[in-house]
Subunit: 406 residues, 2 copies
């Protein structure tokens, strides 16, 4: 299903991190749905969380634990979001951390919990009691793909990526995995993403690196416009590579880290859109020449989230009028429509407020028949720009979301 994704991950270990997966059990299909990431002592951690006001219990607990100490374990379960579960949800999330803490001999605040799945159900903690010891026993440096698969919900392929970069003479790595397919309109970070590097990075630059990368990756995608209650993205630095602290190594190494993390998260963000629920297309929306970045983002999201644009994309129908209508409703009153131009890849479809004179339907059709395409919108009113990746709206999207709980 996923557009241009094979699902074959070839991830290499990253020093200072071990990974495991296990089955909580109780699912219709037998599969692992719990992942555990262990970070070596002294690891640093930065995180970005959803801005949804109904944030899930594990998000609240992870926030609290991050303030209290440095994480040693990331505990992730798929299938149950532990969101909308009130006080009991908070107690359950804390309890799941205690199970890890007790078995591993670490303080409870050094365990961060993450959940994804159905909203409004309570966790079955006895399943965590059984699965967590098994996960702890099976921790290995090379089980990233197991973890990437274990955190999937409606994802059809696992999503993970390894990147290398240099700190001085030392080769460092960043590994990142993510899950997400629906309820995707991140406002901070998408559903769940976990990145670990073996570079040594202090909390300040680590957090800045994460925020910048999230801004150019997860915060540039939308599937259905629905921001999740559980969005979380973590970047941990184990420092186990043997390279010196990034802060002491100069701008170049920090730049290399930032680029590697951004590349990894951008790859994952795009993978989420490629594997969006029911997706048959991977679409980039580029909005340029806007009076502000905010306006460019508004226009890009209006086009990316228009059900009419998305169904036309599904039908491979060069129905550019729907794009124009979406642009028109997102522009301010003073915008000069005459200056707006729109392209499908290299085909100019709109200029001077209407269909481009040279446009021929077969040229638009040629682009729309592609699995991957770009809608480029030039507003002709400034020098700002924004880029958003999105998918189409298919029968399969409705089927998946009408049947998800049944």
């Amino acid at each position: 299903m996923a557009v241009g994704l094979s699902g074959d991950l070839s991830m290499t270990p990253v020093a200072g991190a071990r990974v495991a997966s296990a089955a909580l059990g109780g699912r219709r299909e037998a599969r692992d749905d719990l992942a555990l990431i262990e970070l070596s002592p002294g690891s640093r951690c930065a995180a970005a969380f959803t801005r949804n006001r109904f944030c899930a219990a594990p998000v609240a607990v992870s926030r609290r634990h991050l303030e209290a100490s440095s994480p040693r374990y990331l505990l992730i379960n798929a299938g149950n979001a532990n969101a909308g579960t009130g006080e009991r949800g908070l107690r359950d999330a804390l309890r799941s951390c205690e199970i890890v803490a007790r078995a591993a001999g670490v303080p409870v605040t050094s365990v961060l919990p993450f959940s994804t799945g159905v909203i409004g159900e309570h966790l079955e903690l006895e399943r965590f009691e059984r699965a967590i010891p098994l996960a702890l026993e099976s921790l290995r440096p090379d089980r990233w793909e197991h973890a990437a698969r274990a955190i999937m919900t409606t994802d059809t392929v696992a999503k993970g990526v390894s990147r290398e970069f240099a700190v001085g003479d030392t080769k460092c790595r960043v590994n990142a995995i993510a899950k997400g397919s629906g309820m995707i309109r991140p406002d901070m970070a998408t559903m769940l993403a976990f990145a670990v590097t073996d570079a040594a990075v202090d909390p300040g630059p680590l957090s800045a690196c994460l925020q910048a990368a999230v801004g150019e990756s997860f915060n540039c995608i939308t599937v259905d416009g629905d921001t999740s209650t559980n969005d979380a993205c973590v970047l941990a630095a184990t420092g186990a590579s043997g390279a010196g602290a990034i802060e002491d190594t100069g701008e170049e190494a920090y730049g290399a880290l930032r680029e590697a993390v951004r590349d990894a998260l951008q790859w994952l963000a795009q993978a989420i859109v490629r594997d969006a629920e029911g997706a048959t297309k991977f679409i980039r929306i580029d909005v340029e020449e806007g009076e502000s970045e905010a306006l460019c983002r508004r226009v890009a999201y209006a086009v990316a989230e228009s059900p009419l644009v998305k169904t036309a994309m599904f039908a491979s129908d060069p129905n550019w009028g729907r794009i124009l209508a979406a642009v028109g409703r997102s522009l301010p009153a003073h915008a000069d429509i005459e200056r707006v131009r729109v392209w499908l890849d290299d085909v100019c479809i709109v200029e001077q407020g209407g269909r481009a004179p040279a446009y021929r339907e077969e040229d638009g059709q040629r682009v729309m028949d592609r699995e991957e395409l770009c809608v480029r919108i030039r507003l002709g009113g400034g020098a700002h720009r924004a880029r958003v990746w999105t998918s189409d709206l298919s029968h399969e999207y409705v089927r998946i979301n009408a049947e998800y709980r049944t």
Copy 2:
């Protein structure tokens, strides 16, 4: 298809107005797709138009003509929106008015053009040349239902309503017809709606009456969040009832007019949602106890337009977590989640940040199995409220919009 609508209209004539329909021809199925409404000399007219910046050519021409003189003819064609058609579109819209003006012997500015249908195609004026004389010949006081049918595009039922009210001792009438089914998130007025009363009303109060009615009808509905390029709503007053001018008859008569117009437009707005593309449900979203009406509207639209809420509605799945997620993403940072409560009809599903303790899935299921239901959201943070009507998102919606142009 339409939820709770039979499609049988029983409209009575309104003094001072004659109506006709005709076939432009060239459609796959033989049906009338041109409507003409004739208003007696001296009629007053108020109108509300789309705020989409890419407004269609007929919208621009209608605005201009309304400023120049009092309308005698409303000319409506379905199938071609004459939007995104640039300078030629403006000339074509004007030309269609000239055909009416010449044949009827009135100034061109007393003809208002309206179009609905595919965006980006040019009008075929020779078809207007042939059809308009036929329409003029067949003008009758009792052909409102013909007109209501002629302006349909993806609508499955015609939409029209008659209401009576008293001005002093005189019985007055208001007739209104509308079309609309997709690209519905009016920001002023929906696709196309035309109302005519035989009361005598000056332009000022007529306009105030229209704006108020639109605010409580077309501006409270959404199907897919896409604001059309062609939205227009007209209220004409012929004064042919024989009743005195509303201004001279006192507050009571004006109140009766306002109520009748609001009722008529509200009925039409709801009919548009009931007949929304692929709709199987008719859903009212009531948001109460908000700190402002704007916030209540934002929350209501976030829920009403969430693809995940809409697909759950289609599946009759009491997946209240999706409602909660949509509320959560639309609330400001200072909102107190603990005070938010949500009901499905009379069943309380959310309180204190999570599932209501007394909630049982079978109670939610019982409500979700209904064709018509209400989602009531109390924010617990003020005294403002908002109401929005919407539909679900079905397989049929995707089919209709993937196949519309083919």
